[in-house]
Amino acid sequence: MAELKPGRSPEPLIFELAKPGAATYRVSGTDESGRARPGAVPSLPNELLRADIDGFPELAELEVVRHFTRLSQLNYSIDTEMYPLGSCTMKYNPRVNEAVASQPGLAQLHPYAPLALQQGALALASKLEHALCEISGLDAVSLQPAAGAQGELTGMMIIRAHHRAAGRDPRTVLIPASAHGTNPASCTLAGYSSVEIAVGPSGVLTPEDLAPALSSDVAAVMITNPNTLGLFERHIVSICEAVHRAGALVYLDGANMNAIMGHTRPADWGVDVMHFNLHKTFSTPHGGGGPGSGPVAVRKDLARFLPVPVIACDGEQFRLDWERLDSIGKVTSFYGNFAMAVRAYAYISMLGAEGIAATSEAAVLNANYLQERLKDLLHLPYPGRCMHETVLNDERQHAAGIKTLDMAKRLLDYGFHPPTVYFPLIVAGAFMVEPTESEPLHRLDAFADAMAAIVAEATLDPELVHNAPHTTPVRRLDEARAARKPILRWTP
């Protein structure tokens, strides 16, 4: 007998849905049963050929379409609701980005295509490089790094090449506690050891915080500005001066560029190298965890170390220049995540100079608005104007036994994705909110209202909050079990 299926039922795995023998997708060049024509691959010896692929699925096209459509419905996304994740800049991803990136002349363009075919792609990439130079004030850009973390690594490799070219090889990188989480791992991969610099009660770094650690073994200082507390590093100019006096370079983690574009420029502070996150600031979609894109920008005298190839223009014709003796080498298979560059360029072109500045201003206004609305509900450890994000915590809820995680999970019941939680590490129980400029005021209000309701529940009915979420496709998962006895694939 058929069962009633209220609400969402779990979606089986494709391997469980598979129907061996089902009429599946027909590949070109096959007969009506989907088999390659007889006589295929006559010269390949049998010992090179595999038997059947054990367990591989077999489903009719409609079943495939339904499966992935149903799975998509189990996701939260920007297209359905606000995503207030601090440091992630979950802004609207304009649909036109997808349209332009999927044009055949760009999507089908092969990286080894004859130069004549590459002209449009190289012109576009070169224009994006120019825009990123203009926004940062720096002089040269490589679009090759595939993500922010790889941008950091590329930047650190450039810094190491710079010192080596000068006949030195200092091996320490200083990282303020308010910088991004990836920084230490990127340093290690470049052969550096990282030292964390504690930040004082103001939440911003001072030259005095840095001074004791600024030895001759320091290669660079990695700074995130605005920092992960959402505060602008107001001593940035004197910090850069002190770092340069010590013979080191300043690396800027540009993850938070959405706060400052068109208002203040990293090069004017004294930054030598930085990376951008096209998937944050420049509206390329996050895609459920990537692909991102992390272009690196440098000062003029560091341009010779950029990864190969670089885009060159001989008068009318663009080409890829591989003959760069001082280059650090190569960091991705081809020229980086080009399709992301296409999207970012389309976005920048639509905004234009004024639109870019207006975007950052609105991002800062939205964050400060939410800070005002939330600061009476949650504890705000660093009061004052924030930039594009604000960091609060659960100190006031401790008495009721409610933690940040509980409130974050309860937000899911109100239909909101939680903010970034427990980061930055310098704020215990951190609750880091970044609304971005594209969120309408009524959604900011609805989010603040939901938080007010949850804070009230924390006192009146802490168990309700503690056991949240109650309405999601699955409830809190046993992550300890997943890690103790990992099951990472389906087996028959």
Binding site: Y422, E479, A480, A483, R484
Partner: protein, 129 residues
């Protein structure tokens, strides 16, 4: 309420040692396991490894944290709790019993004077809270 048995000695890094003659059995305290939450993996040295008081001898992981383990005394590792490989949760369930980690043949028993007794350790933990 966490308990700290009086027959054990404690390090400020939250390891305990139960000295029995020339050797000592080592684990982490109830406070430490509670702070870490659900422990999912314990990485221990091989038998025969030499460990030094205050130096790292292994790693304990919970779902979202990873902590170094520090030897409360110096010496050679003569036994390792292999059961933790498949049942790391024993550290949560029974930190002073089935959740033990290694046994050290002590090379310098005089080092033990630097450790805390149960009272001093309890005071340290309560002060922090």
């Amino acid at each position: 309420m966490a308990t700290y048995p009086i027959h054990l000695q404690y390090s400020t890094e939250h390891e305990w040692i139960a000295v029995d003659g020339a050797s000592g059995r080592v684990g982490i305290t109830e406070h430490a396991q509670a702070e870490l939450g659900d422990i999912v993996f314990v990485e221990l040295p091989e038998i025969g490894t030499t460990v030094t008081q205050g130096a790292n001898f292994g790693v304990v992981e919970s779902v979202k944290a990873v902590s170094d383990l520090y030897a409360p005394a110096s010496g050679k590792v003569v036994d390792v709790n292999g059961e933790l490989e498949t049942r790391p949760e024993l550290v949560n369930e029974d930190p002073y019993g089935k959740g033990w980690m290694i046994v050290i043949a002590l090379s310098d028993p005089s080092e033990l004077h630097a450790l805390l007794d149960a009272g001093a350790y309890t005071a340290m933990v309560e002060n922090r809270e």
